[in-house]
Homo-oligomer: 376 residues x 2
């Protein structure tokens, strides 16, 4: 009964976004740019997450299981990092600071972990503090189950909203027919918890028999980009599609994003996954890419350093190795541009506290984008 009321509610929300926008194939590649880039952190392997500490230094996660504190040009290794289940797409993934980090010192990590029973691993969320180059006060806030030796789709982006809730993603773990549409299973969902791991009472599945109460959405495939829209406060995500069908979605309470019942993608082999792209009760993406760009990392620009980019969304492309800039108007993309073409597999992008843009590239390191200064 309660469930049907909730679904009715979703439907109303859904109609607002019922028209999905496909990425224009003619992406613009400007020959001249208004910025210059500098490789400020060299020699990284697979930099996954990055955050800025109050002193302007950075913490960078390497997928292999390391946290690097980049400060005054030196890369200092952090000790006592949790053991990661390093397999396939798994490893040490995202890192975020508590909104009140300056006063409480909590930082948040996502990683693949063997914690719990069963062979293999699954996504874990931890908070900890940083003292003397070592993680202390470690608290495991969430550990997805069951463990599996599959190496796919850990999800793992972290983001806080304006009310202090922590959101994180868990991918479908390669079991698309079991996980995403089943609210009793962990895979293929966006989660929402309090900063200490407690489950908010108004989470959509709280009280539903057997449901994963920490879950906030379902029907997701593998979200590896998550950013708070600085204007609306909404949490935006993007997710990897299969062959085609990468999506941008806006996280809304209890919404079903449809994977794998609806998708704009097909199997890697070329065979169809489903013959429908829309279904009642399932949310349409805000935007989708065919072919897949392999999105990883996402940030909104609201910096005065890049006045022309204000309100834009930046998305890394693993597959095509560039940074995508999307101009938005009323949650619609009005312009699509390719930046840093051929730079390498872009794993993450963030706006720093200095208003500059930081781009993490596999096998290279972290580039800082600065606006060109006017010559007159």
């Amino acid at each position: 009964m309660e469930k049907s009321i909730i679904f009715l509610c979703f439907f109303v929300v859904m109609t607002t976004f019922s028209c999905a926008q496909k990425a224009d194939n003619d992406i613009n590649t400007p020959t001249e740019t208004n910025f210059s880039s500098e490789l400020i952190v060299e020699d990284l392997e697979i930099p996954w997450g990055m955050v800025f500490l109050p002193d302007g230094s950075m913490l960078i996660t390497e997928k292999s299981g390391k946290i690097i504190h980049f400060k005054d040009g030196e890369k200092i290794m952090i000790n006592n990092v949790p053991e990661v289940y390093y397999r396939g797409q798994g490893g040490l993934m995202d890192i975020e600071l508590h909104p009140d980090y300056a006063s409480n010192g909590w930082l948040y990590l996502s990683y693949s972990s063997e914690e719990g029973s069963g062979s293999g691993g699954n996504t874990a969320i931890m908070r900890a503090k940083l003292n003397n180059n070592s993680l202390t006060n470690k608290e495991l806030l969430y550990k997805a189950s069951p463990n599996t030796t599959k190496g796919q789709h850990f999800g793992s982006r972290l983001e806080f909203d304006n009310n202090g809730y922590l959101y994180f993603s868990i991918g479908d773990r390669g079991s698309r027919d079991e996980n995403p549409q089943n609210i009793r299973r962990n895979g293929g969902k966006i989660y929402r918890i309090h900063d200490d791991g407690r489950i908010p009472e108004d989470n959509p599945f709280v009280g539903t028999q057997g449901a994963v109460e920490a879950a906030y959405t379902y029907g997701n495939r593998n979200p590896q980009g998550m950013a708070k829209n600085p204007v609306t406060g909404a949490i935006w995500i993007h997710e990897h599609g299969p062959r085609g069908g990468d999506e941008i979605n806006i996280v809304q309470k209890g919404v079903n994003y449809g994977w794998p019942v609806i998708t704009y993608g097909i199997n890697y082999s070329g065979t169809p996954i489903t013959d429908i792209t829309e279904k009642e009760g399932m949310e349409q993406p805000v935007y989708y890419w065919v072919p897949s760009i392999g999105p990883s990392g996402m940030t909104f620009v609201n910096s005065n350093k890049f006045p022309d980019w204000k309100g834009n969304l930046l998305v890394g492309s693993l597959a095509f190795q560039y940074l995508e800039r999307l101009e938005l108007e009323d949650n619609k993309v009005t312009y699509r541009e390719k930046l840093m073409d051929g730079i390498g597999r872009v794993r993450n992008v963030r706006q720093g506290p200095d208003g500059l843009i930081y781009v993490a590239v596999e096998g290279k390191g972290i580039y800082r984008l600065s606006p060109n200064t006017s010559s007159n």
Copy 2:
């Protein structure tokens, strides 16, 4: 003609060491020790090499391909480290300083590299300088060939002798029937070069048609310990045997150490490799272990901090996870002791410039052994 003269010469040398000593199975495990250990570098994965810079700080290689500068309690990552072929036993391996490091700044690395033609990799030796946390002036001094995708037996220890020659080891690369006994092939040998990579004119195979002129010995399996005897100046090595038959040898010009024609070991499967342990023209080991301890790292003690250990040899055990202390007299082992029993896979051991002993353990880090202070 020249060759037969050389072999005659070997035989004379060989007779001096013709009686090999087997490790006593009753290894002593003292219940009380005269030292205490402290984990001074935490959170290392597979620390392979370590050296001490003139300021007392350390450079540590991680097999995965990183150099860590451990200074004032911080682990600073070094940039611009050569790309390693990270497979099986290969990766970034040893590190040594030039004897005149303080004036010329040269440091030496061994690693597995894909350099050159053919798929796979083989052992490489590089020298470089350290500037602003980055390797500069990189010079590839030696690269073994052919490349192979086999992951075994890269060898890779480095050591300088008192005349400024650099010795390094290359294992048989898993091709025991092709490499060690063939002086035209790179695998299964100890090498001797000048500090800049030039081949010394008095190397034993210089002038021999088709021979590997940088080679100094042959018939070696996989030497992963190498240390200069501080009293005699001789270069000592140990090598991994197969199942049983780990050896300690003293490096002598042009000598054939017999692998795989003679060995005290058998195949891992239990089948014999050969039915002989001695042969004319092939050197007997100074000492050998059955069963194998999996030796890795070796140092002579000549520190006043450990007067009871002066002249002893310390050897790490990967397989049995302890540090072996060997008392020596006239190149014979007179006492065998197990230290740090169960500490983990010991990868390396060195005496520091402070006279203390440093032990690198996989998955843990670097322990420093200090003598217990007398209580009266």
